[in-house]
């Protein structure tokens, strides 16, 4: 239960078409992440699936049933909002029980489900507090709790971690992944953070200006980006993109090499440059290389600690088999 199929879905606000015709199938139990820069229409797409916005044309099927004209409550989807959208005047317990109360479930069943959710999410300690008295991470858990008690056929997450601090974000990321493992329910997760996308997703949908640029597993996207946009968007630090003569040597308009696929060598490197800023992370060192002759600055990831300073000369060797080639339209050359 929980297959979602979008067929030729479009959305316009007035004269502006934010989602051009779009086809997408999300399989039952899949953790799908919509990722893209801000304003790419990923949240709009999620709201269309949720039913909070009407689609302009096309159809949405949920579990094989046409849900295009169904009201949000009838779609059996649960959503976790960016602001959490907890009801401030209700206790945590009442917040979680609210959807069940609206469904006119009997009191004993509500009690059972709320306690179940509280146990799964470790909410028991603050179940009688108000949202205002909770920390960001706790609020996030309550919002998820409110979603899971309904036992929906799919969960929708709208940038749920963007209001948390970095440490908490990593923790919640794991918890949501764990939750998915346990519940095996379809989840659609919207984020602009490609790290979240890479770490959590079974399937990533990369969006730009309402268009789907590529759909695939995280590693597919990493190893075989379909075009320049995906190549530049997935992976951190960003892929180095080089065009002109150097690219022509590889029969391409543009070539891309990821920072981790360039080796620092003592001498006789294929490429040379001077070291700019070096970011020491301990486990890795990110070197920013200038004066490579390719116009743009290049990023290189060296494992461990590297004893290089600002202004040092450096020799580099790209791993030829890891070079991505793109044609003049920005599409991948296989």
């Amino acid at each position: 239960m929980g297959q979602i199929q979008l067929k030729q879905v479009t959305k316009s606000f007035g004269d502006v078409q934010v989602i051009p015709p779009l086809d997408l199938t999300i399989q039952d139990g899949e953790f799908t992440v919509f990722v893209g820069p801000s304003g790419c229409g990923k949240s709009t797409l999620l709201r269309l699936i949720a039913g909070l916005e009407d689609i302009t044309s096309g159809t949405i099927d949920i579990d094989g049933v046409d849900a295009t004209d169904l009201v949000p409550a009838k779609r059996k989807l649960a959503m976790v909002f960016q602001s959490y959208a907890l009801y401030p005047h209700m206790s945590v317990r009442k917040n979680i029980a609210f959807p069940l109360k609206m469904a006119k479930m009997d009191q004993a069943e509500i009690e059972r489900r709320v306690n179940g959710a509280a146990e799964v999410l470790n909410l028991a300690d603050y179940i009688d507090r108000r949202p205002g008295q909770l920390s960001g991470g706790q609020r996030q858990r309550v919002a998820i709790g409110r979603a899971i008690v309904r036992e929906p056929s799919a969960f929708l997450f709208d940038e749920p971690l963007s209001n948390l601090d970095a440490a908490l974000r990593v923790g919640m990321r794991l918890e949501i992944s764990e939750l998915h493992e346990r519940l095996k329910t379809t989840m659609i997760y919207v984020t602009h953070d490609q790290v979240e996308a890479m770490t959590m997703a079974d399937k990533i949908v990369v969006l730009r200006a309402g268009h789907i640029e590529q759909v695939g597993s995280p590693l597919e996207l990493y190893h075989k980006p379909r075009n320049l946009f995906v190549a530049g968007f997935i992976g951190s630090p960003k892929m180095n993109l080089i065009d002109g003569q150097e690219a022509a040597k590889h029969d391409a308009h543009t070539i891309g090499v990821r920072p981790e696929h360039i080796d620092v060598v003592e001498s006789d490197g294929l490429w040379q440059g001077t070291v700019g800023v070096a970011e020491h992370l301990g486990s890795d060192t990110f070197l920013h290389i200038h004066n490579t002759g390719f116009g743009e600055m290049m990023t290189v990831r060296a494992a461990g600690e590297v004893n290089l300073r600002h202004g040092d000369k450096i020799h580099l060797n790209p791993r030829v088999e890891e070079i991505h080639r793109f044609d003049s339209k920005g599409l991948r050359i296989a």
């Binding site: 909070l52 949000p72 409550a73 649960a78 959503m79 959208a85 959807p99 609206m102 108000r130």
Partner: protein, 288 residues
């Protein structure tokens, strides 16, 4: 307010305002208390000396006292109910995106800018006049006998006029409160399966709780002293004599300043009782 110098400077700056306010409040208050213990009939011998609690006893035992208190409370309560209920509805209506929103909002707020005397005159002469009023024309158009509003339905008329005056205030405060409601909360409620009516009951109304208490508190303070609307329309006749109007009559129509002052002290006590109740409720509501 960190340093000693800035603290004393702050005190110095505030002093004129504090002194002015104190003078403004304390002088009349003390004079009222003073006169309430004296027989003071300006046209019949002037200040005739100390009378103890005579004025207080006379004011309460007068047959007009309890009806006046009742009238005051009825007006305050009815106006509060009407303005809060209509105010919530209007605020929600004005919150909807619509064409000409700015103009409509200004129009809704306009009655608040009209002086009470003027608005009461407008209602009395243009709407409620049994011969030439718009209502009379309307009634006649449908073949009914025009109602003489200010004599046959004096209380409802006064309540209507005062409500019309205060509705914009309530609407304005409630509108700003509604605008501060996080839209995602309503969307979450929609996803949770709450229909519009339940969204209103469980999300919007609790969110407005604080604003509603503030509206009630502020309006009560002003409504207890409603005067111009009654003076201009019924002149306190037909059961519209409130406590403040009764005091006015004692002082100016009966020319008995002592008796009126005693009434004034009662009015202060009544206002304080109401205020204490309200403060408790508001305090509770503002805490969480």
């Amino acid at each position: 307010m960190a340093t000693k110098a800035s603290r004393s400077a702050a005190r110095l700056m505030m002093a004129p305002a504090v002194i002015l306010l104190l003078g403004w409040m304390l002088v009349p208050l003390i004079m009222t208390l003073w006169f309430s213990f004296r027989t003071y009939l300006p046209l019949r011998g002037g200040d005739q000396g100390w009378t103890g609690f005579d004025n207080y006893v006379r004011f309460v035992t007068s047959s007009s006292f309890w009806p006046a208190v009742q009238t005051t409370l009825i007006i305050v309560l009815s106006v509060l109910i009407i303005t809060v209920v209509l105010g919530v509805l209007l605020a929600m209506l004005l919150d909807q995106p619509m064409w000409g929103q700015g103009v409509v909002r200004i129009l809704v707020i306009a009655p608040f800018f009209v002086m009470p005397t003027v608005s009461a005159l407008v209602w009395k002469n243009m709407f409620m006049d049994p011969v030439n009023g718009l209502f009379a024309h309307l009634w006649r158009f449908f073949g009914a006998d025009p109602v003489s509003w200010l004599s046959d339905a004096a209380m409802p008329s006064v309540i209507m006029i005062v409500s019309w005056q205060w509705l914009p205030f309530a609407t304005l405060i409630l509108l700003t409160a509604i605008q501060s409601l996080d839209g995602e909360q309503l969307e979450a409620a929609e996803m949770d399966g709450a229909p519009k009516l339940k969204q209103f009951w469980f999300i919007i109304l609790p969110h407005l709780g604080r604003a509603i208490t503030i509206v009630i508190l502020i309006q009560t303070i002003f409504l207890l002293a409603v005067f111009a609307e009654i003076f201009v329309t019924t002149g306190g006749a037909f059961g519209t004599r409130t406590l403040s109007y009764l005091i006015f009559q004692r002082v100016l129509e009966s020319q008995n300043i002592g008796l009126g002052s005693a009434g004034g002290v009662y009015a202060i006590i009544l206002a304080n009782i109401v205020a204490i109740f309200l403060m408790r409720i508001v305090g509770k509501n503002l805490d969480n």
